[in-house]
């Protein structure tokens, strides 16, 4: 990661600093793989079940495993209680996370089966989808599912005229805020997830991609360390 500027963000971070990150692998006993990730006050549990039989059967693919994803914010993860159940934001996020991970997994090795990823946001303070995707990647690895590569994900953005890494909810509330979640592969920085809301120039886009790339590289190191941590003792 490039040199840090003097931190002038509300929490003292430099523009390209992540919030404190915590990663732990294998935290749940009844999943095939699991991980717990914190990006500051954003907390996520990820778990993987599978490969397993597909229910309902007609969703089965004869040539490869299907990878399904659930993204869920628990009711007290946010300030105003979130009603359990279907919500369109969650459906969309589950879809883009699932699509970001599918090329990572050797799905063709498990025809007619399903790999289910469950992402539970237990506390939310911006960046939930990128923390969830980072955790999902760890949980897949923990489940021993053969993968081409891992992905790391973080949001780049803009607030009060500055390009920033890993915005908090407070920063996202700026009038000119732009939030751009990005996921990249470990080895060759392929962008696997990219979303954006706001109003920005093409120059901003390029700047944010640079900042996001640095962030993803840093997260990739932490992911590797977290996996080593789990497997060193066993």
């Amino acid at each position: 990661m490039s040199e840090k500027k003097s931190g002038k963000r509300p929490d003292g971070r430099a523009y390209n600093d992540m919030r404190p990150v915590k990663m732990q692998v294998g935290v749940l006993k009844h999943a095939n793989g699991s991980a717990y990730v914190e990006f500051g006050k954003t907390h996520v549990y990820a778990s993987v079940h599978g490969p397993k039989k597909v229910h309902p059967r007609h969703m089965e693919d004869g040539e490869k495993a299907i990878l399904r994803c659930r993204y869920n914010m628990i009711p007290f993860s946010v300030n105003d209680r979130k009603r359990p159940g279907y919500d369109r934001r969650s459906v969309e996020i589950a879809k883009v996370i699932s699509e970001a991970l599918q090329p990572m997994v050797f799905l063709e090795e498990f025809p007619k089966s399903a790999i289910d990823i469950d992402l539970e946001i237990t506390q939310a303070d911006a960046g939930t989808r990128v923390a969830a995707l980072t955790a999902a990647s760890l949980a897949l690895a923990d489940a021993g599912i053969p993968m081409r590569d891992l992905v790391a994900a973080v949001a780049a953005g803009r607030a009060n005229g500055e390009i920033l890494l890993d915005l908090t909810k407070e920063e996202e509330d700026a009038k000119d805020a732009v939030d751009m979640p990005v996921a990249m592969t470990h080895r060759d920085n392929k962008v696997m997830l990219l979303q954006m809301d706001g109003d920005m120039s093409r120059e901003d886009l390029n700047q944010m991609l640079i900042v996001a790339k640095e962030g993803c590289a840093e997260l990739a190191k932490m992911q590797k360390a977290a996996l080593r941590e789990k497997y060193k003792v066993e």
């Binding site: 079940h49 007290f76 300030n79």
Partner: protein, 262 residues
């Protein structure tokens, strides 16, 4: 699973358990409170490999017309897909509904939560408390874990601030005022497997099926809720015995894990 099941039943004939515990011995229990910054009160309870979260959120609402001076409570339970490959039996929805309702009735019946103190303006506005229970990892004995987490979350909970218009103000921190929770209602479950009564069953033990009875007691030892379930029956003597065991176990928990957490 089959082999496991028969082995468990065989051992139980000699009053032995797979993990070496006594029949009335609970696994290690950990109660962590204040685990969520966005909840008014929250707890994570770990019993062996079972992990349950509970959180309390407050909102304001109109009272019911038949109890204009009382607050309102509503309880939900959800099994996270991560918790298990399968569930206790029956449709999953059923198990969640029963779990939520048993925990809810235990708290309500105990009158530990003072609903009259949850009234803001009689007939007009009262506090509405949402209790949400989330099962993260299921290694048996979910009702007890959920009940402990619920009690701990309520004991941990503080009122949010109201603004000048009487609306919940999320722009400031919670007040210092605790929710009116007097005492610790605790649901303890006794399972009967192959004629043997036992506490705190693991998922593998529950696989061996059998009937269960959950008895909620409050601090003075009174019973505030009973729920039988599972497959099988109890004699009335066994029910009486279960009532004794659960009262004793609840007392131990109040003096142990709860003292430690609060």
């Amino acid at each position: 699973m089959k082999a496991n099941k028969e082995y468990i039943l065989e051992m139980l004939k000699a009053s032995k358990r797979l993990d070496g515990r006594a029949l009335d011995e609970m696994r290690p229990i950990k109660i962590e409170i204040g685990i969520s910054e966005n909840a008014e009160g929250s707890a994570r309870v770990t019993i062996g490999d079972t992990v349950v979260l509970a959180g309390v959120k407050m909102a304001t609402a109109e009272p019911y017309s038949d109890s204009p001076d009382k607050g309102v409570m509503t309880t939900s339970a959800e099994f996270m897909p991560c918790a298990s490959h399968k569930f206790e039996g029956g449709r999953p929805g059923e198990v969640e509904v029963e779990l939520a309702r048993v925990v809810d009735r235990g708290i309500r019946g105990s009158e530990c939560l003072d609903f009259e103190k949850l009234c803001i303006t009689p007939g007009e506005k009262v506090w509405l408390s949402f209790l949400d229970i989330l099962v993260l990892d299921h290694d048996g004995n979910l009702i007890d874990a959920a009940g402990i987490a619920a009690a701990a979350a309520f004991l941990d909970a503080k009122f949010p601030a109201l603004d000048s218009e009487g609306k919940v103000d999320r722009s400031v921190p919670l007040t210092d005022k605790k929710l009116p929770m007097a005492g610790i209602p605790l649901a303890i479950t006794v399972r009967k497997i192959n004629g043997v009564l036992m506490l705190d069953t693991t998922e593998a033990e529950e696989e061996a099926v059998g009937a269960r009875v959950t008895i909620t007691t409050k601090d003075n030892g009174n019973i505030t809720s009973i729920q039988m379930g599972g497959i099988g029956g109890f004699t009335d003597a066994e029910i009486s015995e279960a009532a004794k065991i659960t009262e004793k176990t609840a007392k131990k928990l109040r003096d142990g894990a709860f003292k430690k957490a609060f």
